[in-house]
């Protein structure tokens, strides 16, 4: 009879152990090597044209999806400014937004972006698999998505998810 308590606890502990370990794994480094970036063409906020071919010039590029209607973007903005000061180049994707408002935002809060792709209809967001804003992507060699973070980018997220990949 004593076997039942033992079995029950073993089962409970192993199920919870698995879930716990998954949580810790998830908070570490994720790699999606198999995810490819679909090529795209678009305009920048300043009217110049841009193609995804340009991303191939860098081994790593950081894409940040933002919009003036998005509260989370306002939250992460100051951290993006900090990253910019550290010399990290961020390519912005102004997602489903209004050009005028976007410029006003950048004037008011500062511009952390080296370039800003204007994705008025969310077509590039669609190709990237964006479900909302803010989202941040790390692209390797201009064709594969190494990291896709949904939500606000802050120091903790940066150190856990992005910094280890960039250091490699």
């Amino acid at each position: 009879m004593k076997i039942y308590p033992l079995l029950t606890f073993l089962l409970v502990i192993s199920i919870f152990g698995l879930l716990f370990s998954q949580l810790f794994l998830n908070s570490g480094i994720e790699e999606f090597n198999q995810k490819k970036l679909a090529p795209f063409e678009s305009n920048l906020l300043n009217g110049e044209s841009f193609t995804s071919e340009e991303l191939k010039n860098n081994s790593l590029s950081l894409l940040n999806v933002w919009a003036t209607w998005c509260v989370g973007c306002r939250l992460e903005h100051s951290y993006l400014m900090e990253l910019e000061k550290k010399g990290i180049s961020i390519i912005g994707i102004n997602y489903k937004d209004d050009k005028e408002k976007a410029f006003k935002w950048l004037d008011q809060f500062g511009d952390p972006y080296s370039e800003n792709i204007f994705d008025e209809q969310g077509k590039i967001g669609f190709l990237l698999g964006v479900s909302g804003a803010p989202e941040t992507f790390l692209i390797k060699n201009g064709d594969s998505i190494v990291m896709h973070h949904m939500g606000v980018l802050d120091e903790q997220v940066w150190n856990n998810k992005f910094a280890p990949l960039i250091d490699k």
Partner: protein
């Protein structure tokens, strides 16, 4: 000011709840009104805190982060009110409010339970602490900026959505009550009679779970535009698991109440169903699984929620094994006895819930052992493994109501045999004449026929005997029969077709011919898009359907509105795909016979809650 007040009240209720627990265990109060007044204070504090958050929503106070991310000034006032539970923090507050309410009602009716409310408060307190420290809905967005709020997701701007979460939470939170009763019983070791309230509380939880789940399924059917009513989505599964366990709990506690048997089953099931409900909460809210419902969240919250769930399961099972397993009551079960039926019921439902749970968390397990590869477990697995089990279980529940307590009384055997035989013949004829014959169709219909005949026989008999009849039970099972019938017919006889269609072209799907009449632009306050008019012939009438593709500028989302022609016998369901060229559209047409029976059955199952249980016809 008001958000700070709300926050303060929330912290106050947390401390109050902790006080109740400590006093109950360290210095059990002699005065039985203590628990009542303490529970009342906790409930009122949470209620006022809920009101405070509602005020922030209704006055568009976007300095509160949660309001800013979930509401919008242009939202109709009704949706502003419901937007409170549109996100993680607010829905948690709603859950706490409901839980505190249930505890208050319980304590009001059962003041003689010494520790029950203390155990319930352990769950309440841990979730309150989780809300206050890790998911505080009153957090301010500082410095205050002139942001006008993002928007409530357009998919959620819908009536069914606004009542789906509260109903579901009534069910989830209700499962805490049986757990408290069981723990109190284990600790006190008093009379088995103390377990009696488990039955009515589990019935209440179960009814609301049924309603909540079916509302979700109905919403998915008409709003997501896929035409399905069940997707085996991880979140649907994590509601299904507690529902299955709660179903087992109801039956087990009936056996416990009337025959004082299956006591250990009942006790274990209270722990399991609460664990199922908390684990479901964890799966949805930790972001460990991606699904339509999941809130994208940080792992800290997940760890805390999982910890709560773990502690409660361990606490429950420790008490269970330390205090009760010496009392293993042997039950005599003849194969025709009600005891045996209930045993089948319990073991099959637990097995089913384990199968569903395993399928849901298997991707997680796989990812760990394969070093990061990801897979998804979809409908084919679930259908393959659950349907045979479900059919056997349904067969037993069809004949179960006719069996009697205690040993092998065979006096009913003739009528049971007759019912089974006639159902098999009838089902064979029906499946052959009206539908293209298939094995599952035949089995499904046979089971429905057996169940309906059993219930009819039960009612017929009660007119001739002086015994009390449980009309609520009959109504509940009848609902299940209607639901099973709807599932069987609609899943096996639906036809669907995907095609590209131009203006004035026709396509035939099954026996229906559908024509694209014209396309027009639509423009409303909160969205714009295209509306396409389709027409089809139904008997001697020409009917029109207007599926749409909409774009909501406020939240920048594109949605499809399916065109649905609903009727009792069949639904014609058209959803639009992409626009191709100038006048052509990709579209999908589905014809679903008897699909309405699924929700009709579920609603009857819910309404059974309000039917009287003890009726004498004579």
């Amino acid at each position: 000011m008001i958000p700070e007040l709300g926050n303060f009240l929330l912290i106050f209720s947390m401390i109050n709840s902790l006080l109740l627990i400590s006093i109950a265990f360290i210095y059990p109060p002699k005065n039985k009104r203590f628990f009542l007044s303490a529970s009342l204070v906790t409930f009122l504090a949470i209620f006022l805190s809920f009101i405070a958050l509602e005020i922030s929503f209704l006055t568009d106070d976007f300095s509160v982060l949660y309001v800013a991310t979930n509401s919008n000034p242009n939202l109709p006032i009704y949706y502003k009110f419901a937007a409170l539970w549109g996100g993680h923090e607010g829905s948690l507050l709603l859950f706490l409010l409901i839980l505190a309410g249930w505890i208050l009602v319980f304590v009001f009716f059962h003041r003689d339970h010494k520790y029950s409310s203390a155990f319930m408060n352990i769950v309440l307190f841990s979730l309150l602490a989780f809300t206050v420290f890790l998911s505080n809905p009153f957090e301010r967005l500082l410095p205050i900026s002139s942001i006008s709020g993002s928007d409530l997701n357009p998919l959620l701007q819908d009536f069914a959505f606004t009542i789906h979460p509260p109903m579901l939470y009534m069910g989830y939170a209700g499962l805490v009550i049986p757990f408290g009763i069981a723990m109190n019983f284990l600790l006190n070791q008093e009379k088995v009679k103390q377990l009696e309230p488990i039955r009515s509380w589990s019935v209440v939880s179960w009814s609301f779970l049924t309603l909540g789940i079916s509302l979700g399924s109905w919403w998915a059917y008409y709003e997501l535009g896929w035409g399905g009513w069940w997707f085996w989505d991880p979140v649907e599964n994590s509601a299904l698991v507690p529902w299955l366990l709660c179903t087992a709990l109801i039956h087990s506690s009936i056996a416990t109440n009337t025959r004082q048997i299956f006591i250990n089953w009942t006790l274990a099931l209270t722990i399991l169903s609460l664990a199922g409900s908390l684990l479901g909460m964890f799966l949805v809210r930790s972001g460990i699984i991606t699904s339509v419902h999941s809130f994208a969240l940080d792992p800290d919250r997940g760890i805390f929620l999982l910890l709560i769930c773990f502690v409660i399961v361990i606490l429950g099972f420790s008490l269970f094994f330390l205090k009760s397993y010496s009392r293993g009551l042997k039950t005599d079960m003849g194969i025709y006895s009600k005891e045996f039926m209930f045993f089948i019921n319990n073991s099959f439902l637990v097995t089913l819930s384990v199968i569903v749970l395993l399928g849901t968390i298997y991707p997680i397990i796989y990812e760990i052992f394969s070093g990061g590869d990801q897979i998804t477990v979809g409908a084919p697995y679930f259908n393959l493994v659950t349907i045979p089990f479900a059919l056997i279980l349904l067969f037993f529940q069809a004949i179960g109501p006719l069996t009697k307590w205690g040993g092998n009384k065979i006096d009913n055997l003739n009528s049971i045999g007759m019912i089974i035989l006639s159902s098999i013949i009838l089902s064979y004829l029906v499946s052959n004449t009206f539908f293209s014959f298939s094995f599952y169709e035949f089995v499904g219909n046979a089971i429905v026929l057996i169940l309906v005949q059993s219930l009819a026989l039960l009612i017929f008999k009660s007119f001739h005997s002086k015994r009390k009849t449980n009309l609520s039970m009959i109504a509940g099972h009848l609902g299940l029969a209607i639901l099973t019938f709807g599932i069987t017919i609609s899943s096996l006889n639906s036809v669907e077709k995907e095609f590209v269609i131009q203006k004035n072209e026709s396509v035939s799907v099954g026996s229906t011919t559908i024509t694209l009449e014209n396309t027009q632009k639509v423009q409303e306050d909160n969205y714009y898009g295209d509306r396409v008019t389709f027409s089809f012939q139904e008997e001697d009438r020409v009917l029109k359907l207007y599926p749409e593709r909409r774009f909501y500028p406020a939240s920048r989302m594109e949605t499809t509105e399916a065109g649905i022609y609903p009727s009792i016998y069949k639904d014609v369901y058209i959803s639009l795909g992409q626009k191709i060229g100038e006048n052509a559209w990709a579209a999908k047409v589905q014809i679903k016979p008897l699909v309405r029976f699924i929700w009709l059955g579920a609603i009857i199952m819910f309404l059974a809650l309000f039917v009287r249980t003890n009726i004498k016809f004579k």
